[in-house]
């Protein structure tokens, strides 16, 4: 099974909206605009791991991977690919 980007991105956007009470474009830098604290990044890590059944570790565990919805989507897709 391959995962396409659309449902993943939508899921991530929905989580962000729920937690921050604002909507986020796929390419907006969450940390740069001050809407999201870096402490929140860990919540994103844990959320992605449990929702998409992946383990984010080693060099993947870098803030840059969680800056945008697009970045997180690419990470999820890559880790899911690797699992199969």
């Amino acid at each position: 099974m391959t995962t396409t980007s659309e449902p993943v991105a939508e899921q991530v956007q929905a989580f962000l909206t729920e937690r921050t009470r604002q909507t986020w474009a796929r390419d907006t830098d969450l940390f740069a605009v001050g809407g999201v604290s870096s402490m929140f990044a860990m919540e994103l890590v844990v959320h992605l791991e449990s929702t998409f059944d992946i383990v984010i570790a080693g060099p993947d565990l870098a803030l840059d991977n969680f800056r945008t919805v697009d970045g997180m989507t690419a990470l999820v897709l890559r880790l899911r690919e690797a699992e199969q």
Partner: protein
């Protein structure tokens, strides 16, 4: 920095509370093997997962060297676990009787050349040293929460602290990539002496109904350049520990302003201790690492 240098050290950390866990994560993440001693069985059980969570957070924040393997973490309920250590960092509850007991036992268990470091917030190092057979072995460090993100460490040199002790701690801080600022002794040293009464005043302003916690923190941040605001900082410290530290300060300085205010004591009585219990001046939903 070579891994061998990190492995020259074998660190024992006493107490797996907010600071003991954070200091352990910092050390392990820099390749130093750690034996973490915790008296409370439930806390000891949770300690490995809590250290792992902090290591993940530290890695995410790019706060650890990429090229160093983690040091090994051993958790034990017995102080005897500290016996093989090259440096001991004491981070048990801020209580004179408890600390002096634990430090004296540790002094007897470890070699005469092993530096004993107290992470006390406010108790003067010379006062603690008075309970030890060899006062020269004791020194203070003041790691702050979270240790892996704060790269400067206040180091407290008591009148009787020995040169060898200071140099051992300086070398350890080098391996941990922390920058020491060495200061003299006194109640609360520099940072607690200034910060804790200020936080107490911030709580008093809320207690008197002058402003909400949000308003106090917003003004302190946006007008005065405080990084997080005093009451968010209080929640990060832990309100029980803050009250203990304020009591130590008030008793030793005679400054009534330092005596913990009613609102702070009420929150401690109600078990609202800040981030570690999920609620303090702010509501975090659940306990935060």
């Amino acid at each position: 920095m070579l891994r061998e240098e990190a492995e020259d050290f074998s660190l024992a950390v006493l107490g797996a509370g907010t600071m003991g866990l954070g200091i352990s994560a910092l050390a392990v993440g820099h390749g130093v093997p750690v034996t973490l001693v915790e008296a409370d069985a439930a806390r000891a059980r949770q300690a490995p997962a809590a250290v792992t969570a902090q290591l993940r957070m530290a890695q995410l924040m790019n706060a650890l060297p990429a090229d160093r393997e983690y040091g090994e973490l051993t958790v034990t309920g017995s102080l005897a676990g500290a016996a093989g250590a090259t440096v001991v960092i004491e981070a048990v509850t801020e209580d004179l009787t408890l600390k002096t007991k634990v430090l004296a036992q540790t002094a007897a268990l470890t070699g005469a050349g092993v530096a004993l470091v107290s992470n006390t917030s406010s108790i003067p190092i010379d006062e603690l040293a008075g309970y030890l057979p060899d006062a020269a072995r004791l020194i203070g460090t003041h790691f702050m929460n979270p240790p892996y993100l704060i790269s400067t460490v206040e180091v407290v040199r008591g009148a009787s602290t020995g040169e060898a002790t200071l140099s051992a701690v300086t070398r350890l801080l080098g391996v941990l990539a922390r920058r020491p600022v060495v200061v003299g002794d006194g109640p609360g040293f520099v940072t607690s002496r200034i910060l804790h009464p200020m936080i107490n005043d911030a709580a008093r302003v809320v207690q008197e109904g002058t402003a909400t916690a949000e308003a106090v923190d917003t003004l302190m941040r946006e007008c005065l350049g405080h990084r997080t605001g005093p009451l968010r900082t209080a929640d990060l410290i832990g309100l029980d520990n803050l009250a203990d530290s304020l009591r130590v300060l008030a008793e030793r300085t005679g400054d009534h302003r330092a005596a913990p205010c009613e609102l702070l004591l009420d929150k401690v009585r109600d078990g609202h201790l800040g981030r570690k219990t999920g609620r303090g001046f702010y509501d975090y939903g659940k306990a935060q690492p």
